[in-house]
Amino acid sequence: MDAVVAFLISIPISPLLSLLFEGIDRKLHARMQKRIGPPVLQPFYDLIKLLGKERIIPATASTRIFEIMPMVSTASSLLGASILLSNILSNSNIVGDLILIIYLLAMSSIALIVGGSASGNPYSAIGFSRKISMMIAYEIPMLIAVISMAFGPSPSLAVSSIIEFQVSRGLPLVASRLSMALAAAAFLLCIPAAASVVPFDIPEAKTEIIYGFLIEYGGPYLALAKVSKSVLNFTLTLLASAIFLYIPSLLGEAALLNLGLSLFLCLIVSLLIMFITITVPRTVLARLKVGQALKFYWVLPLTLSFSSIILSAVNL
């Protein structure tokens, strides 16, 4: 498929898929607590409702930043998701798009906290500082895990060439080398913090600082923030399934010819990743403190990602 066509298709598809994923996540979460749970389409209903509500801008807010930042956040996470999705759909080769995607995802979180803290509410200021500490905790191991790709068996930072490498080997990247398995583990451990779900939902702790930086957002702004967050979660899981666990590669060359089928398999894998890294932790664990989260991320995932780089230096 042509790269431009694929990109244009993936712009509307990625928010739809991510809202669907969020609905499935909420349903699974409810079933694990023995509840009936909301319908799978619940995020769509929430979105429609929020878009139709009144817009309120608090008197203490600096209006422009408060208004614009949710849009910036949604735009950047949407762009990241579409670049990733169009890469899987079309094998177009953009050099270094892996770094671009990670950067856009970080950008979307930062835009949201900047907008939130422009509201002038003290809780959003607390949320802001907590989110910055959390980003220091998880962004570094995550970035190193992604960069270790450049030292790995397929020395590249382009999603499509990593996918092609996996297809030519007939194996997902985690299975090909020990170093890549470690990098994948570090990346997966970073997903719950990047998605800020319960053990690491410190910046928006609902029962503690009342959603932190989201506290003053309501109506359409909240809708944009919700979309941005769910697209971000979706992109993270899809990225993990595309660069580390590209299961369609087991089909061999057919994976590159049958792009629809491989996208479908990829989505199934990312659903599984979402279940393991987002749904299960948020159901069974309790919230940590910032210090504990920082310690966790700088002990386990950072060690894993560093050892992945060291191992790939000696070709393991």
């Binding site: 509840r35 749970g37 909301p38 619940q42 009342i210 506290i215 309501g218 909240l222």
Partner: protein
Amino acid sequence: MFRVISRGRIKSPWIFHLNTGSCNGCDIEVVAAFTPRYDLERFGCLLVGSPRHADVLLVTGPVTRQMLPRLIRVYEQIPEPKVVVAVGTCASSGSPFLGSEMIEGPADRIIPVDAYVVGCPPRPEAIVKGVVMAVMSKFR
């Protein structure tokens, strides 16, 4: 188009719960309505902590003099369209406290109330039904 919006509103009422001097009996029952046995979330309800996110205001208690300005303020902080449900006999009619000079309520003397759930405290099923009926009648 209009039907889509009203369906979205009916399907996702987010609840903000305000205690205006309740004895805590009603508050416990509100929380009980979200437990696995009654599971208000199956109607799309969420218990939110900020009035900016809410659609439904659950008022419990007979609105004491201290809570009067706060009740009005929280009501105004909720973006339109919104629904108010008075939970418990205190919030509905002021019941045993009616006539006390510490009481400014019941709630409907201060803000428009769309549904009353009576009982002292009401059962969680009744709260669930009250929320769903109020949302259905207001947003249809």
